[in-house]
């Protein structure tokens, strides 16, 4: 079939979905949706619709990325705008079916808003304040199409870019990518066009195309959502790049912790092959490409490009020294173009909508959009896509809805274990590769964790370093031993055994580790510690000099205390849940925590009824009335 024929068929099928008078119910069923109960919602819809004999189509889509609203349902009924419903439970389903599908009551009490766009233009919910600031370019199909149905992707403009590319020369494709200003979305921000040009010029044969889908940063899930919700976008980008390089073998190195993403990618590959968009003789052009999904085996370091390639070769994932660069000598020592999921998903946009359009978005040096996984202590947890140059404040406040529960903003962590923590004074920093770097943080691949007054920055630094120590491959002594030593010092500090000279020692070690490590993991491992010392030094000093944890987090420095004035004498909630039987009743009937038995599990604080709020955390421990200092 020619591409025209394929497209015509896809459009016909797509139009049939929403224009034949029969309502359509879209339910997001990606991983986080399923964890929220989306599949049970689908089941309930199927049951109710069968019971009431209502003709409807149910489409299981990927995720829009509004995690705090999941499970999300979008109902399209003729003569009505598309209505989005949030936090749908099976109990709500009969009401939605009877009210909206059978009759004409759109059940606005359950509605989040209406969905506009989505038919090839970025979708948004205009009733939500965030729609003013977002530009869903890479996420354009997520939550709207069935990721296992390639016709949806094609109907909304998918594979236009590939068809166009097959008429272009490799140099023209490279030129277009260069002109767009696209920079790698894996974290380093290297200009993609430049990388492609170098790989094109490289003399080795065969050449390989590799997609880094080993999204290992804890707290990052942008790539997961794209892979589960719009896998064809990534495939199309890879095919275009492979065509430009005359490469016939591609790999998508995917984390095994993402089983649904692996499944959807494999289905997407089969679907694309079925239509001649992948495999032998793509669209009759004579160009052939095989793409294989390679599953990772749980090593964070395999997100580093050279380690990833060794892993594909069946070896331990030890990064290597550069030069030679991977575009000259990568997989099996052949020229290899490796890019992140979001970078490949950007390629069809650049080719189809043009480099001029793409470069019109963003700042002078950072073009296009940035996709973030916003999580932590923020109201609207989920995926955010904004033009580069949008400020941190806009993302956290206007889109994220601000700090959860009305608490106070303390800091925002970007870039995962390689990144930094920025305090309040940096909220007006525009998000782009260079401004964040200047502030001491980095864009990273897109994780953004918001912290409030109840997060301890010393503990946060310890957490990231603990992660890095476990994931270090061990090749470089400074990384292997240095990070361990830094962790040991941090553990002393959070335990109350910190010494005044520890801070300077951490800074010194950090600088040495940066110099003595060959790969990004080692070089950036000290970052969380360095930025927290730089911007939150007073917290370190409180831990070391006063044995006090200002955020009341560090276990050895806090005590749980029941306020006798607030304790409701007739209640036993805390006694029941205490795993070490540390809570007893005072003769005057209020409850008392035996500090020698308390294991600081936090259960009592959790269960104390909010009308009493009698349990508090105190730091330092000497603050507990009657407590003798150790």
């Amino acid at each position: 079939m020619t591409f025209e024929e394929i497209k015509r068929e896809a459009l016909a099928r797509w139009e049939h979905i929403e224009q034949d008078g029969i309502p359509v119910i879209r339910v997001g069923t990606a991983t986080s949706d399923r964890a929220s109960g989306a599949l049970e919602v689908v089941e309930e819809f199927e049951k109710e619709l069968a019971r009431l004999n209502v003709e409807t189509k149910i489409i299981q889509t990927g995720s829009i990325g509004f995690c705090n609203y999941e499970p999300m349902v979008i109902i399209s009924k003729p003569d009505y705008p598309r209505i989005c419903y949030n936090n749908v439970t099976p109990d709500m389903v009969p009401r939605l079916v009877e009210g909206f599908l059978l009759e004409d009551d759109p059940c606005m009490e359950f509605a989040l808003g209406t969905l506009e766009g989505g038919d090839g233009t970025p979708p948004h919910i205009p009733e939500l304040p965030r729609s003013e600031h977002e530009l869903r370019l890479l996420l354009r199909n997520c939550g709207f199409i069935d990721p296992e149905n390639i016709h949806h992707y094609i109907a909304l403009g998918g594979y236009n870019a590939l068809a166009r590319s097959l008429e272009m020369s490799p140099d023209e494709i490279v030129e277009e990518v260069k002109k767009s200003g696209l920079r790698g979305r894996g974290g380093a921000g290297f200009p993609t066009g430049q990388k492609l040009e170098s790989c094109l010029k490289a003399r080795g044969r065969p050449k390989y195309v590799v997609c880094n889908a080993d999204e290992g940063d804890p707290g990052a899930f942008m790539d997961r959502v794209i892979l589960e919700s719009d896998p064809q976008a990534v495939l199309e980008g890879m095919i275009i790049v492979a065509y430009a390089l005359n490469s016939h073998k591609g790999y998508i190195y995917t984390r095994m912790e993402y089983p649904l993403a692996v499944e959807r990618l494999k289905t997407a590959i089969e679907n694309a092959k079925g239509l001649g968009l992948l495999g032998d003789n793509i669209l009759g052009s004579g160009f052939s490409l095989e793409i294989e999904v390679f599953q990772g085996a749980g090593a964070f370091i395999c997100g580093e490009s050279s380690a990833l390639m060794y892993s594909i070769e069946g070896k331990r994932g030890f990064p290597r020294v550069r030069p030679p660069q991977s575009i000259e000598s990568g997989l099996w020592q052949k020229p290899t173009q490796l890019n992140n999921v979001k970078t490949f998903a950007s390629i069809p946009v650049v080719i189809d909508q043009g480099s001029e359009y793409f470069s019109s978005i963003g700042t002078d040096t950072s073009k296009g959009t940035a996709v973030f996984a916003l999580a932590g202590k923020v109201e609207n947890v989920g995926l955010v896509e904004v033009p580069m140059g949008t400020t941190l404040n806009t993302v956290i406040t206007e889109i994220g809805g601000g700090v959860k529960g009305g608490k106070h903003f303390k800091g925002v962590q970007t870039g995962g274990p390689s990144g930094g923590c920025l305090p309040e004074q940096f909220l007006d920093t525009p998000i782009d590769f260079d401004s964040l770097k200047e502030a001491g943080a980095m864009m990273g691949s897109g994780g953004m964790i918001v912290m409030d007054e109840e997060n301890c920055m010393v503990d946060a630094a310890r957490f990231f370093l603990d992660f890095t120590v476990k994931e270090s491959c061990g090749k470089c002594s400074m990384c292997r031993l240095g990070t361990k030593q830094m962790l040991s010092i941090l553990e002393d500090i959070v335990r109350g055994d910190g010494q005044p000279e520890d801070i300077e020692q951490l800074v010194g070690l950090g600088e040495d580790i940066k110099i003595g490590s060959l790969c990004g993991l080692g070089k950036s491992a000290p970052n969380p510690v360095m930025t927290t010392i730089r911007y939150f030094r007073e917290e370190y000093e409180a831990h070391i000099l006063e044995k006090r944890c200002p955020a009341l987090v560090c276990r050895e420095l806090i005590a749980y205390y029941i306020d006798p004035e607030k304790c409701y004498r007739g209640c036993e909630h805390c006694v029941v849940v205490c795993p070490s039987e540390a809570i007893t009743q005072h003769p005057k009937r209020f409850k008392v925590v035996d500090q020698t038995k308390c294991i600081k599990c936090g259960n009592c604080l959790e269960v104390c009824p909010p009308e009493y709020n009698a349990v508090v955390k105190l730091s330092p421990i000497s603050k507990v009335p009657g407590q003798v200092e150790k």
């Binding site: 290992g216 993402y258 999580a375 989920g382 849940v577 599990c601 959790e606």
Partner: protein, 166 residues
């Protein structure tokens, strides 16, 4: 490493050889092969390392070296209900560590261990990307969102009830 009986060993060897028959003697396929073996048994028995090494014309120690590098590969079996606690940033920030401790207490095992009756094993897992539902626990294929130490008992009670229904 766990030591199977002679009969079990024979069975394991046969299954592994069946798996290997579908792969070329290409060292590059080592990781997918190990993944399939682990998928079949829930862990990598010692005999598997030997068979795979033999098939790929590598030494046992080389194969073991690669397998032990990656967190996913295990050398002791999984429990019937494998429990994984997400240790991502978001989960940590909202008290994931306390849930892990509650699990250790309830099951009376440490992370990386397995209960005596082999019903439950407990491991950490790197971020599974459900940060909106932190803290996240996974038992088998089921995700348990918004966990807290007090919800641990509830989760086990539900598991027991489901097991009795089956």
């Amino acid at each position: 490493m766990a030591v199977p009986s002679k009969d079990e060993e024979k069975q394991i060897t046969e299954s592994i050889r069946e798996i290997l028959s579908r792969y070329d003697k290409d060292k590059g396929r080592l990781i997918p092969i190990l993944q399939e073996v682990q998928q079949a048994f829930g862990y990598l028995p010692r005999i598997a390392i030997q068979e795979v090494a033999s098939h790929l014309r590598m030494t046992d120690v080389r194969v073991f070296g690669v397998a032990s590098f990656y967190n996913h590969f295990r050398f002791i079996p999984l429990g019937k209900h494998p429990i994984q606690m997400c240790m991502g940033t978001a989960c940590h920030m909202v008290g994931g560590g306390l849930v892990l401790e509650a699990l250790e207490r309830t099951l009376d095992i440490k992370v990386g261990g397995i209960t005596e009756d082999r019903e439950f094993s407990l491991d950490r897992v790197a971020c599974i990307g459900c940060c909106g539902l932190a803290p996240v626990m996974v038992i088998g294929e089921k995700i348990y969102p918004k966990m807290s130490p007090t919800k641990v008992d509830e989760a086990f009670v539900n598991l027991k009830m489901e097991a009795e229904e089956d």
